[in-house]
Symmetry: C2
Subunit: 429 residues, 2 copies
């Protein structure tokens, strides 16, 4: 069972949560209207930071990898939302090919793949898993810690001229990517004209930029804030971009330091105007990065000019060993949430336009102003105990159903930003 | 909390449940295809009977009145499904008018109305309740047993020429009926051309006939049975109709007795062919009736010819005091399910095409071959403890998630039949 999140939920009462609660009908109707104009991604997860004085998304993942961390009680919600999503995208689909990341030893990730496959099977799809790993040349069955197994199969091009993608004896109507394409689009995924690829290839990190996402988010946050009468800063992290940096060769450092300086000053004034007694900080991260790689907390511009070799190496390389040359400098949002003395941040999961659950990323070794999704670091997922769709105005604004509702609202704003971001980055045909 | 349904779930293992389990992917895909061709009603509940050898719907309600009986854990499913339904029917709706039955003293029913209104509010609608009762001439607030209140308001025609329906200062985009219109369409609901009425007026019992529903169901059951390779009788209750009967004047009795006789014989042969050791019986019920009124169990044709005055009076009058002149004779499906020595039957709730929960109707005073939904009788709702969308092939076919899945499948077949029935009875414009 899920332990009670006493500590994680005892943060200071947010006027923001109260406002969300009062404005629930307006919020839901506004979002419904937005989804008439923008198509939500098939799925997404959003990392949030609740500072007590501010609740903002800090990362939006279009290839979510923690479905296994959700409370099993939410599974029917996942299945129902996936049914809706499939019905919209490819209602006549029979076979679905799931393409995961190339992690064969990360048992947590493999359990995510198994959970995702199970959800999709319950919607009435035959689901098989195709691997991009060159060493998977025949069906390979992996044992999972919970006693399940997962079979990875080699991908094949099928049909006349190899126009379709599939597996041996398996011709799918749709291909669902759970691989973020950090290293670019593999040849075997290119030129698929007869099959639905979900999400579209340009949702991969070879195209995505965090700064484009947060630019779209800024617009969404502005419109939403106007709708319900709040200061958009309360839900929107400020950011800047440095487009040409080389950590190894120490070029572009001046640009980075100047941006850090400017952003820290902006946050300082925001804090002053809002009566917030905290020390501003920023997060420097790879603009196309993921997996918590290439991320650093900076409290003073001088820090980025005095990086030692180890720090440089860490920042210079992202997932799949790719060089980091574009960075985003994002307003640091401290987390006020802790679980049993450990730092915690909420991660919200969505399928289609529905929040289907979430969990706390709990890190025993990191501070409230650090990235909790660090590679190789120990983190404990702690599933949300209730859903995010049932705020209860009879309870306090920070009671679990209400706080989870606020998480679900901000996460959906990030989802909407992702939808707009994908529209804008769609390649011309 | 919901008690464990040990007794209700220990019925004989059904080969049918096993087949549903094996064919889950086929079933879900088949249903998905059906919903491309037929629009599901906004909501519905289906009474099922599980005989151990047969699992069949016996009544389909298009104005479900027991949302308060669902496990609160299923509420997020209700909200999500209602969001999908609203998005399809009237995505830009802001205000919704809910019109309930005219029961102001039935506290259970009023709690249903309150629950339904709460679900709809969570989807982002302003919901107010308009009453058809002539004595409601001003907003009337009723206290509910759980401490909530419910405000009924008088209906008004609004706009130029009174083309719209609403309340004082409330012009709704959509009107949701939770009133089955047994007594016909009240004048105030007629000629609404600018508003969505959900479900459509012809879903009311002034138009509906059980026999039309079960005729559509027979076709659905046949197609479904063919798809998954089962005998359709296993899910389809046989029936006959008598169109002109007058219980008070004792006319039409011969027709009724002959139909009862024929149906009992057909069931007898079915039982023989399937090796079922049970005594056939039929249920005689008003073809346009509801609320468990005008229903009788018959084991021999002679019984319908020797009704005493009390029995005649009981059969002659349906809801709202309407005379019963058309009856359906339906194959009796005994229930093999009991909860703590009481007879039980499952009731499955759906919104749009999704199963959102269910409960057992448990009756301490009725036998396994009797109607459990009798007016004035004591019944205990017992909420399903798990959802109906997550069968688990690792467990036995009669384990709760699998039995609930089977319930959900048959209930959705009845929902599909209702969709077809509504298409066919749609008035020509």
């Amino acid at each position: 069972m899920v332990p009670h999140l006493t500590t994680a939920l005892s943060g200071p009462l947010l006027a923001l949560e109260r406002r969300f609660l009062e404005a629930e009908t307006t919020i839901e109707r506004w979002l419904r209207g937005q989804w008439l104009e923008h198509t939500p991604p098939f799925y997404a997860s959003v990392d949030l930071r609740n500072a007590g004085f501010k609740l903002a998304p800090v990362d939006t993942n279009l290839f979510p990898g923690g479905f296994n961390n959700l409370n099993p009680a939410f599974l029917p919600l996942c299945v129902q939302a996936a049914q809706t999503a499939i019905e919209k995208i490819c209602p006549e689909a029979k076979n679905l090919l799931l393409i995961p990341e190339n992690h064969t030893r990360n048992q947590f990730y493999l359990m995510n793949v198994a959970r995702l496959a199970a959800i999709l099977r319950h919607t009435g799809l035959n689901v098989r898993i195709g691997s991009l790993l060159p060493e998977v040349t025949a069906p390979t069955t992996l044992d999972l810690p919970d006693g399940q197994t997962l079979t990875l199969e080699p991908l094949r091009r099928l049909g006349v001229g190899g126009r379709r993608l599939g597996l041996e004896d398996f011709d799918p109507c749709a291909v669902l990517l759970n691989n973020d394409l950090s290293a670019g689009v593999p040849d075997i995924l290119k030129d698929l004209h007869e099959q639905f690829v979900i999400p579209p290839l340009h949702a991969g990190w070879h195209v995505r930029r965090k700064s484009r996402h947060f630019l779209a988010y800024k617009e969404v946050a502005l419109a939403f804030a106007k709708e319900i009468g709040i200061d958009p800063w309360l839900i929107d992290p400020e950011f800047e971009v440095c487009g040409r940096i080389n950590f190894q060769e120490r070029s572009g450092e001046e640009c980075l330091a100047a941006q850090v300086d400017e952003l820290l000053e902006r946050i300082h004034f925001r804090y002053r105007d809002n009566g917030i007694d905290a020390k501003p900080f920023v997060i420097v991260k790879a603009d196309a990065g993921t997996y918590g790689m290439g991320i650093m907390t900076v409290r003073d511009a001088s820090e980025v000019k005095t990086l030692n070799r180890r720090q440089r190496n860490k920042m210079a390389v992202g997932k799949e060993g790719l060089a980091v040359t574009e960075v985003m400098i994002q307003e640091g949002v401290p987390t006020c949430e802790t679980v049993a003395d450990s730092t915690a941040e909420p991660v919200v999961y969505m399928i289609d336009r529905h929040v289907v659950g979430g969990f706390y990323r709990v890190n025993t070794q990191r501070g409230t102003d650090e990235n909790l999704n660090a590679p190789g670091m120990h983190f404990e997922p702690l599933a949300f105990e209730t859903g995010c769709s049932l705020p209860d105005s009879a309870q306090a604004p920070d009671a679990p159903p209400n706080r989870f509702y606020a998480y679900g609202v901000v996460a959906r704003l990030a989802l909407l930003a992702a939808a707009i971001e994908l529209e804008r980055s769609e390649p011309a045909n």
